[in-house]
Symmetry: C3
Subunit: 316 residues, 3 copies
């Protein structure tokens, strides 16, 4: 039997590795729990004691201050003890294996690992090794998964649009290299979104993307027409000079979101972006800072979603 | 109307950016509040809950372990959650703008930013952008300002000398490149110190320094005569090999504070230094470790002053 | 009078620098206290308030994420405020002396320093300078001492074997460069272990090691025969290519612990290793992960031992 590696034997969430294969009720439970944490940030004392005395390890095998910060804030607001480990500079270089490192931290009574790794499947590998002895949250592994980003995107859409069953969602840009896009497509499908579109040059859309139940567009204007949600993906600067991508200016000309292009979507369409922004590359500043942008709300919701995931994993 | 960017509309402290232009009553309020925190460090449990549940971000765009440590200690003694961000290695390199980074942290409900930046005006820029949505403390921006250092200097002088209205204060060394000197001169003037002197080679004194209400000396012996307070500035080693400064030995010969030279000041004169010390360059070890030295007391007072600034900004 | 620098005038532990010269009753007191902390890790809230409001500084002059993590966890479980200082990149490069750095931190009311330094004697130097003004724990200085490692080894042996007075303990590998071996030999001798053996090639055993009261073996099979405890030392990879050591494969052939060799020890012999493991160099995976291995238990006990040391130093 090939049991879902994210669930324990009773079907409860043991690890959060990917949105793929997460049951709809667990997705919804995380979003509902996140909603209950939104208020915590507005309190005089922005803390709840749900993880008091728990040890959360940020296990970052590649640096990402931005992602590490969001998990560190979430864990501290839950009153956990947080320990940041930048493993690149540590015992890995002394030849210890990844799983030996994890076993050592478990022996120190680590409760939860937030794992960031350049290689796809690293978080899964750790979770499979740990099993019921602890909890793993995937904070991005290669171009594979980044489930809390997908969840905060879902939270954001639900917050502004309420019901997934009537939505048109357009995902624009480098879908091929985006773990954000992958997580999001799975979550949208799971929650019953009828119309998901990916928009970008052929070279940046995965082959066979229709099999995920989405429609493919190679023209931004046609793809964006009448949609409710526009998710702009970040262009990786390091890919810009290669064969796959033209220059930043060329990219903006064909695929950048401007006010004029956004006007083709529904009048109340919202604009999302996972950050950090490349202003003038995939998005115009007038749009990023405009009234339809919910990009900073995504950041706020992201903390609540991470608190929710940690809290649920810890058994609350 | 060009309102003081450090004050809110009611005249309360919103950001601490520079001592320049800080009203006398706010300066005095910070020093008085610091006095109330001196005792905290002697308690069995060195903590007060004034910032419990608040998120303080150390936003360091240039590394300074020493400065970061003082703010981290101060924030933790106030029970804040502290998150250290070394931005040089982070999203700045991904092309995100400084203000986008700040907006993201605000969206995570950051309460206070301690900002260190190599460029003058960086903390002001952030404070202007944030406005009433949070609090900024300038922890050093280029050679411009470092207000908590100026405040701890004032605290130290007040602690040992009580009344500013009768004092002679000598500031010795590389005044030109010193943010310490600039902050201190403003604070001394604001609190009514009648005699402030800057002492150093012409190449290291700013042109027109007299306009700040201070006297200029190019001879250490004459400048130091009969003063109550001697503030030695740190010589930047990286400047030592250039055209502005002779060798360390040469510098010490002309401008180093020795016991024999200190004897020209008042018998109860105190010796201050912002640290870290260059022993044998700007100051002799016999003086740095001598009975007139209050250099380590400055460090102690520095924690109390930073706790006071944070506590006042947070509205306590 | 050349008083023990680790003890205060009443004979209580002031600093933990080395196991060498620690009275037997203090060793035993640390182990007994550690036993009382073992249960803390199994609680729902893994914290005790013994160091609440105390400031513990991890003063790491060479990087060691692994060691730093164990002390950080121990201090946080005692509710201390922990501040990590990586000094290599800090004021040391600005020319401040080691002792000036320490004086500054004391002026900030630091309570305890966990010191890691590449040079032998660095922790002693700091402890001598501080005297009764604070507490120092040596977390490894050159190849000299690493007392909490020695203590956790003792704890592990006592846990599994109860009584030192009948034990045969074999220490295998690069004894010459190992601070682990040195600390352990002293502790075993102090607690009355009758038979301590060091096993390795002549080039990796210190000359005159018999004077420490141990027996020397140059053959693993003969050395390991009928012993109760096998302590495998880590081979430093960086030494592997030099004149002292053959290749990793060669080393494993002569000195690697395999199941077949371990069978020469007593049937209930335990296998220890300070970590990180070089699988297939000094130890075979089948042994490292086998039923006689207590390597991960050592890690667990290590947290309790560090909590005990900190708690005793802080006067609890």
């Amino acid at each position: 039997m090939n049991r879902n590696p994210q669930l324990d034997e009773k079907g409860a969430l043991q690890h959060l590795l990917t949105i793929e294969g997460l049951p709809r009720e667990i997705l919804t439970h995380i979003l509902d729990t996140a909603a209950s944490f939104i208020g915590v940030a507005d309190r005089e004392v922005k803390k709840v004691p749900l993880l008091r005395g728990k040890s959360v390890f940020n296990l970052f095998f590649e640096p990402s201050t931005r992602t590490r910060t969001t998990f560190e804030i979430a864990a501290k607001r839950l009153s956990a003890d947080v320990i940041n480990l930048n493993i690149a500079t540590s015992s890995q270089t002394k030849g210890e294996t990844l799983l030996d490192t994890v076993d050592n931290l478990l022996a120190m009574h680590a409760d939860m690992f937030v794992v960031r790794h350049a290689q796809s499947g690293a978080a899964h590998l750790i979770a499979r090794h740990i099993g019921p002895r602890g909890h793993v949250i995937n904070a991005g592994d290669g171009r594979h998964s980044h489930p809390t980003q997908g969840l905060l995107d879902m939270y954001t859409i639900r917050h502004y649009k309420r019901d997934f069953s009537r939505l048109s969602v357009a995902i624009v840009g480098d879908v091929l290299h985006s773990r954000v896009a992958r997580s999001l497509i799975h979550a949208l499908t799971t929650l019953g979104t009828p119309d998901v579109r990916v928009i970008g040059p052929k070279t940046l859309l995965p082959t066979g993307v229709e099999r995920l139940g989405v429609r493919e567009f190679h023209d931004l204007r046609r793809g964006i027409a009448d949609c409710d949600v526009v998710v702009m993906l970040r262009v990786q600067n390091e890919r810009m000079s290669g064969a796959l991508l033209p220059s930043a200016q060329e990219f903006f000309k064909s695929w950048g979101l401007t006010a004029e292009r956004l006007a083709l979507a529904k009048p109340d369409a919202i604009v999302m972006h996972p950050g950090p922004l490349n202003r003038g590359v995939e998005i115009d500043s007038a749009v990023a800072d405009g009234v339809q942008s919910v990009i900073l709300a995504q950041v706020t919701f992201g903390i609540a979603v991470r608190m929710a995931a940690m809290s649920i994993l810890a058994g609350n």
